[in-house]
Every structure is written in C-alpha cells, then in structure tokens.
C-alpha cells in the first residue's frame, strides 16, 4: 500500500501549485483554474483520508465538492464574461476602479 502520507504530500503540492497560480497569474481564467486545482487537492485528501475509515463517505464528500466547483465555475465564468464586456480584459488586476 502506498502510505497515506504520500497522497497527502501530493495533495499539498497540488494545493500549493493552485495557490501559487492564483497568486501569480493575472489572467482571471487561469486563476479560476488554479482554484480548481486547490479543490482537486482537497478532493484527494477526502478520498485518501477516508481510505481507512469509510471510503464511500469520502467519495460522497468529494462529489459535493465537485458539484460546488461546477456551480462556482458557472457563476465565475458568467462574471468573467460580464467583466469582459465592460472592460475588454480578463486581467484581474485591471479591475481596480474600487480602491483605497
């Protein structure tokens, strides 16, 4: 058996890459993708963590996360579209009318 810790370490790396992508990329769409990576990392923990207890429960949880991710993406992409219509840009940092 692969030790659980390996999965967790991998998920930490995926999560970290997601965080890094969110923090470093300016393209809003890529930032979304990074968030998806973070969610995937979480899912990995759900599944791996449930291995020794109740694997079905872990899957159920991950399922919910996927569903939520879908909902988020729907709204998020709609927002990107709307923003793009207004600003002709998908660079997150260009949206900074509100500040200070």
């Amino acid at each position: 058996m692969v030790p659980q810790a390996w999965y967790f370490l991998l998920s930490a790396l995926l999560f970290g890459l997601g965080v890094a992508g969110f923090a470093a990329r300016r393209n809003t769409l890529v930032m979304f993708m990074s968030v998806e990576l973070m969610l995937n990392a979480a899912n990995l923990v759900f599944i791996a963590g449930a291995r020794d207890y109740l694997p079905a429960r872990g899957s159920a949880c991950a399922l919910f996360v996927i569903a939520v991710a879908a909902a988020e993406v729907a709204v998020g992409l709609a927002l990107v579209l709307a923003i793009f219509r207004l600003k002709k840009s998908v660079v997150a940092d260009d949206v900074r009318e509100l500040r200070a």
Binding site: Q4, L10, G16, V19, N27, L29, L54, A56, V75, L77
Partner: protein, 172 residues
C-alpha cells in the same frame, strides 16, 4: 494491473506536471488543456485509491463539462496568449508566501506518517462503490444533497442573469 505504487507515481507525475503547466502556460487555452491533464491524473489517483465512481465523475464533470465551459469562454472571448506578465516584487512575494503555505501544509504530513486517529473507526468498511456512495448520499448527506440541487439551480439563475445579452433599453 499496475502495482499501486507504480500507479501512484505515474498518476501523480501526470497531475503535478499538468498542474505546473497550468500555472506556467501563458496561453489560457494551453493552460486549460494542461488542466485537463492534471484532472485526469487526479482521476487516476482516485482509481488507485479505490474510488472508481469518483474517478469517473472527475473525468466527466471536471475534465469534461467544466473544462469545456472554460474553453468555451476562452474561445468566446477570443483570448490569445496574454503578454508575459513579468515577475514583479509583489508577485515574487506572493509566490514566496505561496511556497511557505505549501511548506506549512506539507510539513505535518511528512512528520505524521500515518494519520489514523484513535477514535471512531466505528463504521464498517464500505468501499466507495456507486451503491455505497449513494447510500451515504441519501442517508447522512440527504440534506446536503438537496441543498446542492438548489445551489446548482441558483448558480444557473445567477449565471444567466450575469451573462445574458444586454437589452438595448436595459437600465444601468
């Protein structure tokens, strides 16, 4: 059949490479495609862990539906490769902090080894088959399941509201 370790190594390599590429590709279309790769890698890991149902859903919903949505939007907006974004001090700092975050999350795993807690290994071993998952979904998570339906519905309503074409006389 691959041994679990081999499978883990292969799928995790796919997932990591995909993830790194997502973060580093300048062209969003490329990034999206690499993301599909990462998702597939993770799906493979799910399989390795015995969560076949979830692996399938991962492929269908994530790699399938969600990514299509992404690509659809990218193409709709006719986005090209964004110009090189440069590495500003702020971004450097962000990356540094992000790395710190990873390290801080990863450290305990490296230390802890096995994470099993003493308590509550109460339930019988229920492998994550579709039937078992469904069982959990409709017993313990019955309410969340219903809630998610509303969530999806309202997300749809919201997305439609935001993204629909502007009527000429629509007020600002």
């Amino acid at each position: 059949m691959l041994s679990e370790t081999t499978a883990f190594l292969i799928f995790s390599a796919i997932a990591l490479v995909g993830a790194v590429q997502v973060v580093t590709r300048r062209n969003p279309v490329h990034a999206a495609l690499w993301l599909v790769g990462a998702f597939l890698g993770v799906a493979g890991l799910f399989l390795t862990l015995g969560a076949g149902l979830l692996g399938a859903i991962q492929v269908m919903v994530y790699a399938g539906a969600i990514m299509v949505l992404f690509l659809f939007v990218i193409l709709l907006l006719n986005l090209d490769a964004t110009p090189y974004e440069g590495l500003s001090v702020a971004r450097g700092a962000s990356l540094f902090v992000a790395a710190a975050t990873v390290a801080l999350i990863a450290v305990p795993f490296a230390q802890a080894g096995e994470l099993k807690a003493a308590a509550t290994a109460d339930a019988p071993d229920l492998p994550a088959t579709a039937g078992n998952v469904a069982n959990v979904l409709f017993t313990q998570y019955a309410l969340p399941f219903e809630v998610v339906s509303l969530l999806l519905l309202i997300a749809m309503v919201g997305a439609i509201h935001l993204a629909r074409r502007t009527r000429r006389d629509e007020p600002v």
